[in-house]
């Protein structure tokens, strides 16, 4: 009877552990498709069906952020569980993650400008004024470079946040639990797979979702800005826009370096 429950629970665990792979699979297919599709012939083609276009974009961005989350989780595990505690690479990566996560998501708009432009093509179609064979609008349509831009943006926005939240989740698994498992002769891998991951799983997932929602909020905001930007006088506005961004960027990097100094002070003192 005992063995039965053990077996049933093992099956359950097996299914749960399959989830990441399923997500990965869903994520990989459209990206592969998109990469294959975006050749020179597609450059000027803008889908007339707005809804399917938007859904397609959503799908791609969802898949990209899933990949970014997976990347973040892998990085966090590597940092937290394999790299020694006072390793220089660990310190380097952690301070960069600290800076990247402290940057307000709006600032990623600079990077996200490519998303911006790829949507611009769509919006022109909504207006019912198809871009005539106008050379200016061609760079604004999706091509491989722009697509890579989107991917990069999402990776830069999502991955650092995921690294941080995953690290926190892993740290929340108390040392006594790990030591109890190690003391029974378990390997590092067994401790992780059989004890740390099941306990930290929910937190890791929640962190990934939070990062993803942040990225999407920014994307949405950018579309809004574009609409607004397109219909008003651009000259004075863009100057202010860039100034605000520069100040904000400076302040966030400054504040994160302050917390870094503060943190290392604290650890040295204790």
């Amino acid at each position: 009877m005992n063995a039965m429950t053990t077996r049933a629970e093992r099956k359950q665990k097996f299914v749960l552990q399959g989830i990441p792979f399923i997500i990965f699979g869903i994520a990989a297919i459209p990206i592969w498709k998109a990469l294959k599709k975006t050749d020179a012939a597609d450059m000027q083609v803008v889908s007339p069906n707005v809804l399917s276009m938007l859904l397609n974009d959503l799908y791609i961005l969802l898949s990209v952020s899933c990949l970014a989350i997976l990347l973040g989780i892998v990085c966090a595990f590597y940092l937290e569980e394999w790299l020694p505690k006072n390793n220089w690479a660990r310190r380097l990566i952690e301070s960069h993650v600290a800076i990247l996560t402290s940057i307000p998501s709006t600032l990623y708009g600079i990077l996200a400008i490519s998303i911006f432009f790829s949507y611009a093509g769509t919006l022109k179609v909504i207006d019912g004024a198809p871009p005539a064979q106008n050379t200016e609008s061609i760079p604004f349509q999706r091509n491989t470079t722009l697509f890579c831009g989107e991917v990069l943006t999402f990776i830069f926005m999502v991955t650092p946040v995921t690294i941080k939240t995953t690290q926190e989740a892993l740290r929340s698994v108390a040392t006594p639990v790990r030591e109890a498992v190690f003391a029974l002769g378990a390997s590092q891998w067994q401790v992780l797979r059989q004890h740390v991951v099941p306990i930290a799983f929910i937190r890791i997932l929640a962190g990934g979702c939070r990062a993803m929602s942040r990225a999407f909020a920014t994307a949405a905001l950018l579309i809004g800005i574009y609409i607004w930007y397109d219909t008003t006088d651009a000259g004075g506005m863009s100057g202010r826009f860039i100034l605000f961004l520069a100040v904000s960027l400076f302040l966030s990097v400054f504040s994160s370096s302050l917390t870094e100094v503060y943190d290392s002070d604290l650890t040295q003192r204790s």
Partner: protein, 255 residues
């Protein structure tokens, strides 16, 4: 055969330990004989946990930990043993606070055997029953094996931890203040069990309760100020200590 029995299972020579720049233990040398209880006594923070955690290399995970000196387990050097996990299967450990896994009582006990490679459920059933019986917990948990251990008292949980450690089939078992969180009745149970276990196992017992060491151990060592002040037969340590500080400690005037 007889000379082999006399061979110490563990010998420690000139062990020095630091955390960062702070030296915790200085020039420790002693030997642990098979099928005996070797106790380490001393006030809190004198380094008992640090010492016993060296023996199963649990300090490997502590950042800033550094040690020099020799630890020989059955004649081979511990630091040369390439596989710490294999070592920990031979040297088990019971901690101060019982930490059980979030699964059933059965699975908690079976876990160690499972990672040691036992997979057949009949074998696991036998191992679980045998080790729960060794700790005297079988009658109390026989009917609730599939339930989580949260409902057990702290003392029962500690006994379950001991059963879990025994299920790996170790030769040496380290106890680090196993009764630190228990009431007197539960403490007596653990102490009796520790005495019983000497029939099969070699035990190392860290405690800051001097009377407890006097009750359970065959050999005792007094750690103070980072040094092993005195090490020898428990009776001698408690009735006829050679060092002034040991005398003061066992009579309650120091620490």
């Amino acid at each position: 055969m007889l000379t082999e029995e006399k061979q110490p299972i563990l010998s420690i020579r000139d062990l020095n330990i630091w955390y960062g720049d702070k030296q915790i233990l200085r020039d420790l040398s002693f030997e642990v004989q098979q099928r005996q209880v070797t106790a380490f006594i001393g006030p809190t923070n004198c380094g008992k946990s640090t010492l016993v955690r060296c023996i199963n290399r649990l300090n490997d995970f502590t950042p800033n930990f550094r040690s020099i000196g020799e630890i020989l387990f059955k004649g081979s050097h511990l630091h040369e043993a390439s596989d710490a996990t294999a070592l920990r299967k031979q040297i088990g450990m019971v901690f101060r606070k019982p930490t059980l896994f979030r699964c059933s009582i059965y699975e908690n006990v079976a876990y160690g055997a499972q990672i040691a490679g036992v997979n057949q459920s009949e074998h696991l059933d036998i191992i679980v029953e045998k080790n729960l019986q060794k700790t005297g917990l079988w009658d109390e948990v026989e009917d609730i094996l599939d339930e989580t251990p949260e409902q057990l008292s702290t003392g029962q949980q500690q006994l379950l931890c001991i059963a879990r450690a025994l299920a790996v089939d170790p030769e040496v078992l380290i106890f680090d203040e196993p009764c630190g969180e228990l009431d007197p009745i539960e403490t007596v149970k653990i102490e009796t069990l520790v005495r019983d276990l000497t029939n099969e196992y070699t035990l190392i017992f860290a405690t800051n309760k001097r009377r407890q060491a006097a009750r359970v151990s065959d050999v005792a060592g007094f750690l103070y100020g980072g040094e092993l002040i005195e090490f020898g037969a428990t009776e001698k340590i408690f009735t006829n200590p050679q060092d002034n500080r040991t005398e003061q400690y066992v009579t309650g005037r120091l620490g």
